[in-house]
């Protein structure tokens, strides 16, 4: 899909995404909340891209892959989604589920199911990955809801970011602000530092 075409849909959503006040750091695909199947593969694909695969034990050959790439900001993620879709052979991609992501696209009927969306500073692909096609809209919805949810427990501080290890990730919330990763820290634009909440999610 040509970038000019996807940007016609993405560009109008850019401002809302920019001010969403949500940033994720060190997020790995296998940390996503996927409630279907069994996690069977974790891959680091270079840079900040990771992929995880879930197998459906009830349906041999049915697999779902989640490919997640972390970007510096929501704006960068929106632009990156358009770049990602250039690597999709289809001439056009219909909109994805309206309640998924800041913006989403999907494979049309007849193609192996897939949803591609941007949320916060992430681009997320939820794809049917096996030889048996699997519907992925519900999976994408669940993953996205989990990304945007406020974690339980008390928020930590910005200094917690440097102490995150293993598969834990950081979720930063600052409603109305623009959050941008910078040199391992966070720049808060158009918002108050006092409103920033930092959660370490294990």
């Amino acid at each position: 899909m040509q970038k000019e075409e996807s940007m016609k849909i993405i560009a109008p959503r850019m401002e809302a995404a920019r001010r969403r006040g949500l940033l994720l750091m060190r997020f790995k695909a296998w940390a996503a909340r996927v409630e279907r199947g069994t996690l069977s593969m974790r891959e680091s694909l270079g840079g900040t891209r990771t992929r995880a695969v879930w197998d459906d034990p009830q349906r041999p050959g049915a697999r779902i892959a989640l490919t997640v790439t972390e970007h510096p900001s929501a704006v960068a993620a929106m632009n990156a989604l358009a770049d990602d879709l250039v690597a999709n052979q289809l001439a056009t991609l219909p909109p994805g589920p309206p309640d998924v992501g800041e913006v989403s696209f999907a494979h049309p009927p007849g193609a192996p199911p897939a949803v591609f969306f941007a949320r916060a500073n992430l681009t997320v692909w939820v794809t049917s990955f096996g030889i048996v096609p699997v519907e992925v809209d519900d999976v994408a919805r669940t993953v996205d809801l989990d990304l945007t949810a406020t974690p339980a427990g008390r928020p930590g501080t910005l200094s917690d970011i440097g102490r995150v290890a293993g598969d834990a990730y950081v979720k930063v919330l600052a409603p109305g602000a623009e959050l941008v990763k910078s040199d391992g820290g966070i720049v808060v634009r158009e918002g108050e530092m006092g409103q920033v909440q930092v959660f370490v999610v294990d």
Partner: protein, 378 residues
């Protein structure tokens, strides 16, 4: 007497008389000679058949020799054919053994005898040995082999065994081409992990055309692969490590034309071919057999409307010669019947009805991109 080191790639600037420069994978850095060193895991070596001119040499180092003396050392095939048993069963066993040896056995022959000089502490310097009776040229073919050498020294006219070494040897047809390199970025040196796959898929190929055809066929006929329009193994760089992982895992995975073009180009070029990935734009296709599809299943013959399609080109667009591991064309002219043809060294478009382009595109320009690619492997 002990063998201490064996060096196959003793001249990293050349592949004409020694092994190529390779690495295990993109994360490991170059495999630096000695590939065999006492007390350490053995590293593989690879030879490019057509790059070899003249004698192939190795270098080796020893210890425990005569202090300040000189000894003749050689190595013979450590796994010679067993004596043939009598009767039909013996003949059958011998034939099977010969076939296995043909494809996986010693390709390097024997290590010719050389005089080795030892210092006062009984250690030798690196000594050059010429390989004799080796079959790398001219009949070598793509393969992964095991060479076992029984090292011997000469004493009073008798050869005395003192060591056995085992070596993994890859044979490719030519020096690997882009994205693979022989110097510079170590992550782009030929990967042994990729050689395992490419040599298995193209086993026995004696020509570059045979090698590219076998790689294309295997990419297309992986029963665990199926088609999806999204590039799953990288669009800027090629995530070869991930592809190899999925192929070997046995689990299902999806891939598109870019992924297939990358796999065919990258693995073929590892064997010495000169393919490149190149795109063309805007088309509605004729029915074609989808990736890994069953030609007898009408549902496997599909039509897509694509913004782009990516295939492999010999050198670049000007060759007008293509390979496509992603699909099989329908060469039938009868409606409702299909004849599958895997595009292998096919003319892209010279005006003929059976060229690749008219067999693939129903409606649309199929405009060529301006550049071809050799995506960097990661």
């Amino acid at each position: 007497m002990q063998l201490e080191e064996v060096h196959f790639n003793h001249d990293p600037s050349s592949a004409s008389h020694d092994a190529l420069t390779i690495c295990r994978n993109g994360a490991t850095g170059a495999i630096v000679a000695p590939e065999w060193k006492r007390g350490f895991p053995t590293q593989p070596a690879a030879y490019a058949r057509d790059a070899i001119s003249g004698a192939v040499t190795i270098k080796a180092k020893f210890s425990g020799g005569p202090h300040g003396g000189t000894v003749k050392i050689r190595a013979i095939d450590g796994a010679p054919p067993p004596p043939q048993q009598s009767g039909c069963l013996g003949l059958i066993v011998a034939i099977i053994d010969a076939i296995v040896r043909l494809f996986t056995g010693n390709i390097l022959g024997e290590v010719g005898a050389a005089k080795v000089t030892f210092d006062a502490s009984g250690r030798s310097a690196l000594t050059t040995f010429k390989l004799i009776g080796q079959w790398l040229t001219p009949d070598g073919f793509v393969s992964k082999r095991e060479t076992i050498w029984k090292w011997q020294y000469s004493s009073n006219g008798t050869w005395i065994d003192f060591e056995t070494s085992t070596h993994t040897i890859y044979v490719v047809l030519g020096v690997p081409n882009a994205p693979w390199v022989q110097s510079g970025d170590a992550s782009q040196l030929p990967w042994a992990d990729a050689l395992d796959q490419a040599c298995a898929w193209a086993l026995g190929a004696k020509t570059l055309d045979e090698a590219a055809e076998r790689i294309t066929t295997h990419v297309n006929r992986q029963h665990t692969a199926s088609y999806s329009p999204m590039t799953m193994f990288g669009y800027t760089d090629y995530n070869l490590a991930s592809y190899l992982t999925h192929v070997s895992s046995g689990g299902g995975f999806v891939m598109n034309c870019t992924d297939c073009a990358d796999a065919v180009t990258t693995l073929s070029n590892l064997l010495g071919c000169s393919l490149a990935e190149g795109q063309f734009f805007t088309m509605k296709t004729r029915p074609f057999l989808t990736l890994a599809g069953d030609p007898s299943d009408p549902a496997a013959w599909v039509v897509w409307t694509w913004n782009y399609h990516e295939i492999c080109w010999l050198n670049d667009f000007s060759s007008n010669t293509v390979w496509d591991g992603c699909l099989q064309l329908d060469m039938s002219n009868k409606p409702g019947t299909y004849v599958a043809k895997l595009p292998v060294k096919m003319t892209f478009d010279s005006g003929g009805a059976n060229n690749y382009k008219p067999r693939l595109i129903d409606v649309g320009l199929g405009t060529l991109d301006t550049v071809v690619r050799h995506r960097r492997v990661i």
